[in-house]
């Protein structure tokens, strides 16, 4: 396997010239570690041209490259089989174009999302991406990670407002796609492929967005329901009403604890009851509209046996809650031991059946499971595998967690949905990725074709987990032919085969 040798560094420096920043100091490499794998070197190009130069160099020298922004969402990328160069794109943070009157903006991929929105705010505009690690994230990393934003209920996802992009392919060529006008069918929509590509296709250097006017006065509504059926039924009623709220989420108590213990001055955020399910929604408009939202939401909640209802008019408290919801994935990663976070893409009417299964998993396996069921989006599921680690840190109970994954896969398949691993501890990540890829059916082979068109030399991380997982779940399922987690939790499972951690390279 190639590595970045001192002479390679010297050669690269000679290629890039004196101004290039290319450092291979051991101490700094750790910053770019992904699942415990550190790069041999990192490069922080000052321009897209320099970045392309580095990729061309890497291609020539057969070095692997991972494009990197603020390093907040590296977890979404597959565990690297090779990791020679971390391509830090944070210096590409220019604003190439912003004409507020056109509601379009074109920025370097390294532009921090929060900084972009601060700039847009001066013109009363924003890019509606409220993603975890919001304050640190770069816009490039945000698009590459493709994580969900609660605002999609009103504004859609990046595929609806990303207008164009520039990126570096696996040959080191600088490629342009789309444009910066709001309607455009010139050429293939290649920029859509970058969304959620997690660095596996290309190094994004520039992104063009449609911007939106900031919403008018925003208020919120939180209602507690005795069970998921009533909470989701209320949500369905809102979906099929004339109301068009900014966000519309149903959370179980475990997830709603996001909001716990958070007070802002005089307006405490309501306490979460562990037996309840919650509907949280934000809406905006003029006084008449706000009054109507509050009235009709209360009516709908009431029809669905809601208990406590809170109208959230205090903008500071509401903003705090919105920020908590935005950071849900970060919250689960921080507060759950050995967190596993999964996205289950099912249409909204199927969320009830999904919740039934999830609830039974939680009850039977005694796993803490947090559920956020997004009206116009997927269900986010977070669980903690804490109990599965013995004191010595040995992961003795992985069968349970694999069955959890299998159960979610079955759920996805039975309704024509998709499942995707968002994050997991490195030891089980490859196995989980393998399991969830099964929900993708024929797309997997097409995805490979896309990968080789973008990255013919496999310079960027491979799409599929490189090595076979330490304990292929097959051996488990063969021992328990009906891999129902509920059943598994009640039977004594045979001890799992030894599960050595995946070999890490350093």
């Amino acid at each position: 396997m190639s590595a970045v040798t001192d002479s390679a560094v010297a050669r690269l420096e000679s290629v890039l010239g004196a101004n290039a920043i290319f450092v291979a100091k051991a101490a700094n490499r750790e910053l770019y570690a992904l699942d415990g794998v550190s790069p041999t070197a990192f490069a922080k190009p000052a321009s897209a041209e320099q970045a392309a130069e580095i990729v061309r160099f890497a291609a020539k020298e057969n070095l692997s490259v991972i494009p990197i922004g603020a390093r907040t969402k590296l977890f979404c990328a597959p565990t690297p089989a090779r990791y020679d160069v971390a391509l830090d794109l944070t210096a590409l943070d220019d604003v190439a174009h912003y004409d507020p009157a056109d509601l379009t903006v074109s920025v370097g991929a390294g532009m921090p999302l929060a900084k972009l929105n601060t700039m847009l705010r001066e013109q009363n505009q924003f890019v509606p991406l409220l993603v975890p690690y919001y304050t640190q994230s770069t816009i490039g990393g945000t698009i590459a990670a493709g994580l969900d934003s609660p605002l999609r209920n009103a504004y859609g996802t990046p595929r609806d407002f990303l207008l164009g992009a520039e990126f570096i392919d696996g040959n080191g060529a600088q490629i342009k796609t789309g444009g910066r006008v709001v309607k455009n069918v010139t050429g293939y929509d290649l920029h859509k492929l970058l969304i959620g590509s997690c660095g596996t296709l290309a190094a994004i250097t520039r992104l063009n967005f449609r911007t939106f006017p900031l919403p008018a006065t925003t208020q919120g509504f939180l209602a507690a329901f005795p069970d998921y059926k009533s909470a989701l039924s209320a949500r369905q009623k809102v979906i099929h009403s004339p109301l068009v709220p900014l966000t519309l989420d149903v959370l179980n108590a475990q997830a709603a604890r996001l909001f716990d213990g958070h007070t802002n001055g005089t307006a405490p955020i309501p306490e979460i009851d562990s037996n309840h399910w919650y509907l949280f929604t934000e809406f905006s408009g003029n006084e008449d509209l706000l009054a109507r939202y509050k009235r009709e939401l209360a009516e709908i909640a009431d029809q669905s046996q809601a208990g406590d209802m809170h109208i959230l008019e205090d903008s500071t408290a509401l903003a705090a809650m919105a920020a908590r919801l935005r950071e849900s994935i970060a919250h689960f990663q921080e507060h759950f031991a050995a967190p596993v976070i999964v996205k289950l893409a099912l249409p909204p009417a199927q969320h009830t059946q999904a919740a039934t299964v999830l609830q039974s998993i939680a009850d039977a396996a005694k796993l803490p499971i947090a559920v956020i069921a997004r009206a116009s989006g997927p269900i986010l599921i977070a669980t903690s595998l804490q109990s599965e680690h013995s004191a010595s840190g040995e992961a003795t109970d992985f069968p349970i967690s694999f069955l959890f994954a299998r159960e979610i896969l079955t759920l996805a398949r039975s309704f024509g949905g998709r499942a995707q691993l968002i994050s997991a501890p490195p030891q089980i990540k490859p196995a989980y990725r393998t399991i969830f890829r099964e929900s993708l059916a024929s797309e997997r082979t097409l995805a490979r074709r896309i990968k080789s068109a973008f990255d013919p030399n496999n310079l960027f991380p491979t799409l599929d987990a490189p090595a076979a997982p330490p304990t292929p779940p097959k051996s488990e399922t063969s021992q328990s032919p009906s891999p129902s987690l509920a059943a598994a939790a009640q039977t004594d499972l045979p001890p799992s085969p030894p599960t050595p951690p995946p070999s890490k390279q350093s």
Binding site: A173, V182, K183, L193, S197, A419, A441, E443, P456
Partner: protein, 503 residues
């Protein structure tokens, strides 16, 4: 040249015809010149005659046809209603054309999830007709929606007046079933919910102009009918005032559901024909629509009214009822048909510009018209900066036609110059492929070609589209193309009926 088979390929041609007849039935295959001639044009100014036309009825048949055609080394392409305006559904290299009119079933209506699963031959408006009783509609509304099919809409990523707030076709497609051109493999991409959980392949295939795969099933979003709609007709003395109004509405962050402009010259032609109620003596009108919750509609309409008046609107009229609203829209959606009454050749452009550049671009278009000796009309989606300059010419006069093409290229060049793009909703097809280098570099083309080849490696599907000559593939078989090799039209062909409803 295709259509005049050499003896060696004549046998192969006959064999393929027989195999197709056996597969689909005799009535589902056309091979006689007098039948094929009906499929040699679409809504564009180009032509390209297929060697064979087949009407598959199932996905399995499409897959089998792909394999048969490959065996006989015959290129293939898909076609819906042929209303496209960029030559996307023309057999530029001859070959076998698959017309999807028999695959026109709505397979599933799922109102709870606001989705419909349809076959590609379903007519756009028929989706709305099938769901309106439940309070839904299919939002993308190309002016051709009465005849254009969803398969064609998907291939071209069709737009329409109401895509300003609601988005174009790609924003309303969540999953596809496809037949790959390499081996007839049937694959599915996307999901009913919409999130891909992998690369956004649905997003790639929608708008790929039928060059990557044949679409055999489409899952679309159904949109809830708005609670309230207000349609406004704002009348201006000058095009300048109208375009300044549009720029101002945009800049203030108001997104109407639709914001269409008709210049005075065009609206007079339309009014003569449709009697929609456009004032004959005006310089330009804006047809604006706001929709949504009643309270929001009321305040947005008031804001728009105010902006129009600030820009010297002579009158802002609100449609009193559905009848008046429908009439105004009838005028807009039949514009090209109306223009067809006064000229044998209509060349509709599709450039896009940043919306703040609207006033200067419309002035520039008039200058270009004067320079090339045309009266260029404008009826277009002003709200998203999607221009439709219309050049009228005499179909029999080749010199005039060549001049029209030059004027058009000049307009598109200007669109690019001010930060815009070649096409907003009609597609590149064979019409604008030679203008692609205005936006893309050789490296970009190499890259696009790799993506193309990942699915269509032998260029057996819809060759000669999107890529400029020399950058694409399948060119050895290419028929001459207007922009490339001007050829006189020997006889006056009737104006293609397909263009009547097309946008």
């Amino acid at each position: 040249m295709p259509g005049v088979p050499t003896p060696s390929n004549a046998k192969s041609h006959r064999d393929l015809t027989r195999a197709l007849q056996k597969l689909l039935g005799r009535d589902a295959v056309l091979s006689r010149p007098e039948d094929l001639i009906l499929y040699e044009y679409d809504g564009s100014v180009e032509k390209g005659r297929p060697d064979l036309v087949a009407f598959p009825g199932t996905t399995a048949e499409v897959s089998e046809i792909v394999r048969l055609a490959a065996k006989h080394d015959m290129p293939i392409l898909g076609r819906g209603a042929g209303t496209g305006l960029s030559g996307g559904a023309l057999a530029r290299s001859g070959g076998l054309m698959l017309v999807f009119s028999r695959m026109n079933r709505i397979l599933e209506l799922d109102f709870d999830n606001q989705r419909a699963v349809v076959q590609p031959g379903v007519v756009n408006l028929d989706i709305t007709r099938a769901v309106e009783h439940a309070g839904f509609y299919f939002a993308p509304d190309p002016s051709s929606q009465k005849s254009s099919t969803i398969g064609g809409n998907v291939a071209e990523n069709a737009g329409g007046p109401h895509t300003l707030a609601q988005g174009v076709t790609t924003n309303h497609v969540t999953a596809l079933e496809l037949v790959l051109p390499s081996d007839g493999e049937i694959v599915r991409v996307g999901s009913k919910q919409g999130d891909s959980c992998s690369y956004d392949l649905t997003g790639l295939f929608v708008g790929s102009e039928g060059t990557l795969a044949l679409v055999t099933e489409i899952t679309v979003k159904l949109t809830r009918k708005p609670e309230a709609i207000k349609t406004l007709l704002a009348v201006f003395e000058t095009v300048d005032d109208a375009s300044e109004t549009v720029a101002d509405i945009t800049a203030r962050g108001i997104t109407p559901a639709a914001c269409e402009m008709l210049d005075g010259w065009t609206l007079r032609v339309i009014e003569d024909y449709i009697h929609a109620g456009f004032p004959m003596d005006s310089g330009a009108v804006l047809l604006l629509e706001v929709e949504g919750m009643l309270e929001a509609v009321t305040s947005q309409a008031a804001a728009i009214d105010e902006i129009c008046r600030a820009h010297k609107a002579r009158e802002v009229r609100v449609a009193r009822d559905d009848k008046e609203r429908d009439l105004l829209w009838k005028g807009r959606k039949n514009s090209f048909g109306a223009l067809g009454r006064i000229a044998s050749g209509i060349y509709v452009l599709d450039g896009v510009i940043p919306r703040s550049k609207l006033p200067q671009t419309l002035r520039r278009i008039q200058e270009i018209g004067t320079q090339f000796g045309f009266n260029i009309g404008n009826v277009f989606h002003a709200g998203d900066g999607n221009l439709h300059p219309i050049v009228l010419y005499d179909l029999r006069d080749n010199e005039q036609f060549q001049r029209a093409l030059k004027a058009s290229a000049e307009i598109i060049r200007y669109c690019v110059e001010v930060g815009g793009s070649l096409t907003g909703e009609h597609g590149i097809g064979m019409e604008k492929s030679e203008l692609m280098p205005l936006l893309f570099s050789d490296a970009d083309f190499d890259f696009m070609r790799r993506v193309h080849d990942a699915f269509n490696p032998k260029c057996s599907l819809n060759p000669g589209k999107i890529f400029p000559l020399g950058k694409g593939c399948g060119e050895t078989r290419l028929k001459p193309h207007h922009v490339q090799t001007p050829k006189p039209e020997p006889t006056a062909a009737p104006a293609p009926p397909a263009s009547v409803n097309a946008t």
